[in-house]
Subunit: 221 residues, 2 copies
């Protein structure tokens, strides 16, 4: 179509991100990506080794979008802000979660992010031992997402009779679901993801603070 500037790794990665943003992860095939770039599929392989490395590269782009760490605050504020910053990025790019979940090699960009997060705990006086456990406990929450029990929160069935039957078969689920839809923060019977996320995050941060204060050690001698 237009004047086709030379391809390069960055152009490929940005196009991939934009395609995944716009049309979803399923639409991101090497073929479709090439088409978007006005190029033949195999041309991409001159810039990324394979699809796996394309996805790795997309994660690089992602990480670069996360706001830089706060400086000059206590560990808790810093960690909380950083995690929520990561979360904002992930929410802008819905494809990011499944992609992160399936990464298998740790790229330097990812290592850099982890390093900065770890640095916050260490700067806050956490022992390396405790920091290690704490990072594991955070798990994917350090990226700003949680694996929910299920993605779609039980699409309400058309037939009210079905709903009644469900409520009968699973009374506890029903009761709790009812409680959550009375919640003021919820929009329409669903629940507020952000509030749930922060609830759990603060729960963990509280726990971390307490253990830190008590001089916790993995060797309970």
């Amino acid at each position: 179509m237009e004047v086709r500037t030379r391809l390069n790794r960055e152009r490929v990665l940005l196009a991939a991100v934009s395609l995944a943003d716009g049309e979803g992860l399923d639409a991101l095939s090497m073929r479709r990506l090439a088409q978007h770039l006005g190029v033949v599929p195999m041309a991409l392989y001159k810039h990324v080794a394979n699809k796996e490395q394309l996805l790795d590269g997309m994660v690089e782009v992602l990480v670069a979008e996360i706001d830089p760490p706060l400086v000059g605050t206590d560990w808790r504020t810093a960690v909380r802000a950083r995690v929520l910053a990561a979360r904002r990025v992930l929410r802008r790019h819905p494809w990011a979660r499944p992609v992160l979940e399936t990464r298998v090699v740790v790229t330097p960009a990812v290592l850099g992010y982890l390093d900065q997060t770890i640095a916050m705990f260490r700067a806050g006086g956490f022992s390396d031992d405790l920091t290690h456990h704490v990072m594991h406990a955070l798990g994917s929450r350090a990226w700003g997402f949680t694996q929910e029990l299920f993605d779609t929160p039980t699409p309400p069935p058309e037939d009210p009779a079905v709903l009644v039957a469900l409520a009968h078969a699973f009374p506890n689920v029903a009761a709790v679901a009812a409680a959550s839809s009375h919640d003021s923060s919820a929009v329409d019977g669903g629940c507020d993801d952000q509030a749930e996320f922060e609830f759990a995050l603060d729960l963990m941060l509280d726990g971390f603070a307490r253990m830190h204060a008590q001089g916790w050690t993995s060797r309970p001698g």
Copy 2:
């Protein structure tokens, strides 16, 4: 080969589980599954609607393997035991985590599991409100797994020079990794997944207990 008994949904699901157990999730294609059953691929579609529902069915099989809930104990013991029971099942079936992560509809089997777990909190006197938040906070941990930051714990590079360079570039990661490999519970420089899991689980259960004791409510009025 042998006398081919009639196919049915259960035989298909069990064969799928066994194939995934033995050869990994990647090897589980409709074609290969059919082959294992001595049948043509399209025959499977008489018993499951499509691959997605095959995977849903495999989760049913999984859930059925989880030990039944303890009765007559406090909520904390019951929840802890149940989650660890789920974890044992998941560890027997490495394919289960990625499959659970990608499920999109909630089948009755899954709802049943959730219902039982929710019941434990409610029986322990948790408000429906708190129970709701607590279940979200548990997230995938209720299934006995956590999304780790990355799967393979940084395969140690052959070249020691690379390792030194990495340690230089990411000093905090390096320090914490070093601390974890001194840990007695770790085997060979890696870290003990089970210990990390229980650490985080107990952290959350502690938090839950504290909030419950304080009569926590989502309306901080």
